[in-house]
Symmetry: C2
Subunit: 210 residues, 2 copies
């Protein structure tokens, strides 16, 4: 199906990887754009995070290397090319997520020359494990972005059946672990969205799935 | 038209900027994706460059700071939110490009707090002026990416009326100024594409605009 590039060897493998990852532009997320009435894709989302990191890095509670944090967010969703996006509020899909993504990582990073396969896999592992200040901040920004889009949409994925303000509070709590200030932004968004009727009020007021 | 975020002050300005730049996802380029039959947008393109930089940095002829180079590519097309994309082979649009983009930079980066307005404007200026090894390499990767997409499409924007192999050679020559190896890749792509009939052969064989 693919049109082989007229380049051999190490550089040929690197370019084949670069062409393959074009597919990230076709992985649709649950979120809707702020700027258009269509769903966001993973490449757009990853770019948005890569810009949010240098703009918001001053709010990281532990100092972060900005360049390294940007690398983490640029790479963080690549496995979804084969594993698909797993929406935050799809509990069923989240059960098989880890297994699917581990297999995808083997396959995708394996396209690269061995030394880079190890290097890029390590970036993904670092992000997933939240092992470093950079990974914790990258995860926080990754969680904040779709919630900004939800705010601009006046609901968005906050309207998923069964989701209440308390669900959103629980799934976004780790933002505050990496950045007190961004954690407070997230709380303000949820509180205001509940008042505006864009999120169902916390569980106490809701009949349905906990 | 916009839904103001419930955040004031410095952080409020930063978040307003982050929401505004969502529009980069709606700026369409001339290139078609390798992975789907639709045009690429600037956010997807910028993400692709941000991944190409760490994969290909070893081919920069002058040493580059990878993190800084990624920042340059993440920021490089933001002005197109207001100025629009200027296709490489649209000579008319290219006449007014600089003026439109300067006005757009004032307006967009002016959304940020003053210190960051200066910081992000400087990144864009550095990229545009090709003043540093990082900017030269970023520009090379920026020029290479759509040509990889053209290859995968078996033509793409190479088929713009009046464009020949020599036009493409001239517009991509600066890739080799930043990276001998990537310059050679570009030459191979053009030569092979001419042989495959995906680019009109060099001017000697063509009747029409030079
Ligand atoms: Ca560009």
């Amino acid at each position: 199906e693919r049109r082989p590039l007229p380049v051999e060897g190490r550089l040929g493998r690197q370019l084949a990887f670069i062409v393959e990852v074009d597919r990230l532009k076709t992985v649709l997320r649950a979120s809707t754009l702020a700027a258009d009435a269509r769903r966001e894709n993973d490449a757009e989302h990853s770019w948005h995070l890569a810009l949010m990191v240098p703009v918001l890095a001053e709010y990281a509670d532990e100092p972060v290397d900005v360049g390294h944090t940007i690398k983490l967010v640029v790479v963080h969703d690549l496995v979804e090319i084969y594993a698909g996006d797993t929406p935050l509020y799809d509990d069923e899909a989240r059960v098989s997520q880890e297994e699917r993504e581990l297999a995808a990582a083997e396959r995708l990073f394996g396209l690269l020359p061995d030394d880079q396969a190890v290097e890029f896999r390590a970036l993904w592992d670092e992000f997933e494990a939240r092992r470093t200040p950079e990974a914790r901040f990258a995860k926080a920004v990754d969680r904040l972005e779709p919630n900004l889009l939800n705010w601009m949409a006046g609901g968005g994925t906050w309207g998923t059946p069964g989701v209440t303000g308390d669900t959103v509070r629980a799934r976004t709590a780790h933002i505050g672990d990496a950045s007190h200030a961004l954690g407070e932004v997230m709380v303000s968004l949820i509180d205001s969205a509940e008042r505006n009727g864009w999120i169902a009020a916390g569980q106490q007021g809701v009949v349905g799935p906990a």
